[in-house]
Symmetry: none
Subunit: 235 residues, 2 copies
């Protein structure tokens, strides 16, 4: 969470490293077009290309790019499945789903399977570069053609008893950085012993952290903490 803020500022203020991108797309012509369009920008660097998911995953594992441009209509393993595997390998990676379809199920499936953005292939090349920059810092960007159907797919909430007061912004105690580390391991299913080993501290320390995490998150056990963390995107 705190990382998000930092990343935003880094991306906007400092022009350190270019954003590394991998393209996975079966049509050679489209591939070339994408590469040219993106490489025309100083701050974006297409580091590799693949024409199918298998090859793409290999390249992604090797290069660990910031952003993946993933075509959904791939032969063999489809894009959705590839995205899931991709996210399993590198949870922090950002994926832009690229396709020419605007089928509702495909859009939702892509976004709920790890994509941070959904672009139709007739997007303006310059705009695509902007999307790459946005997505790299964590923004969710959805093409106008499919934005409405995506928003409609969100669960409706009864706003009756909706009071936007201090319920959480003030009542919520922020986790320390160390506690966030512990939380990540906790979410990945590690035991206190394993967490301790990972952080090179004693089990007592790990337990202490877990304990204060539970209290700060207002939950009773680590399962609730993990679920809440996942649902709220804390990890």
């Amino acid at each position: 969470m705190k990382g998000g803020v930092n990343m935003v500022q880094n991306a906007e203020e400092i022009q350190s490293k270019p954003i590394s991108v991998i393209i996975v797309e079966d049509f050679k012509l489209t591939r070339v077009g994408l590469r040219c369009a993106l490489n025309a920008n100083d701050d974006i660097n297409v580091v590799a290309e693949a024409e199918d998911a298998i090859e793409g995953l290999k390249l992604i594992e090797k290069n660990k790019p910031d952003v993946v441009l993933m075509d959904l209509g791939l032969p063999g393993m489809n894009g959705i499945e590839a995205m899931i595997k991709c996210k399993e390998m590198i949870p922090d990676i950002k994926i832009i789903a690229l396709t020419s379809h605007d089928r509702s199920e495909e859009v939702i499936a892509a976004l709920s399977s790890g994509a941070s953005a959904y672009c139709l292939k007739d997007i303006d090349p310059q705009k695509l570069a902007d999307v790459v920059r946005d997505v790299a810092i964590g923004v969710c960007w959805i093409d106008p053609m499919v934005a409405q159907m995506t928003l409609n797919a969100l669960p409706k909430i009864d706003n009756i008893g909706f009071l936007p007061n201090k319920s959480s912004s003030e009542g919520r105690v922020p986790l320390t950085e160390r506690e966030f580390e512990v939380l990540k391991h906790l979410v990945s299913g590690k035991s206190n012993t394993e967490i301790a080993k990972e952080l090179i501290v004693s089990v007592h320390t790990a337990k202490a952290h877990v304990c204060s995490i539970l209290q700060k998150m207002c939950v009773n056990d680590r399962v609730q903490a993990a679920v809440k963390a996942v649902k709220e995107g804390m990890v």
Copy 2:
């Protein structure tokens, strides 16, 4: 670089009419800040401002702006309600929800009630202008801080069904209905004892179910099961 978007828009679009914007925000200082930040752009024109929802709705009805910047923490009628009414009046209007909270329920509520974008108040002013342009053409834009939780809220598609390849669905053993019930309680953080009480069975039974759930889901403990269930939308 930051001018990139401007150039695209200017170059491609006829610089005909600027995007008209109405700001609804109770803090005067924030209001001024927003107006200045947006009016600094030639292609954006803040046509009116309101400090509460009632006044805002009147102004919106009169001016019919392209985009509304709506604070969610308004006194009296809250922002969500205002957005719904706003959409009823002018269905095509685009709304950017603006708030300092990052509570999951509020984000989802806003987006499912008509907002096309969700920005936290610490957004870069220049970035906000970009968002206004994006939203004006129908893009859905969501702040990095809340993007993940939004995507997590999307209904998960049962990928097994429409994935042509067996690569991921092969070794997977389906859960029985009873096990699914147990899984739901497990995800909600209940202990075996509580699950047993809920399903009116003995603790032994609950444990047996949990045990086979763990095996079928190929995980080592209930935390991993819960996280996996949430991530894959099994619950």
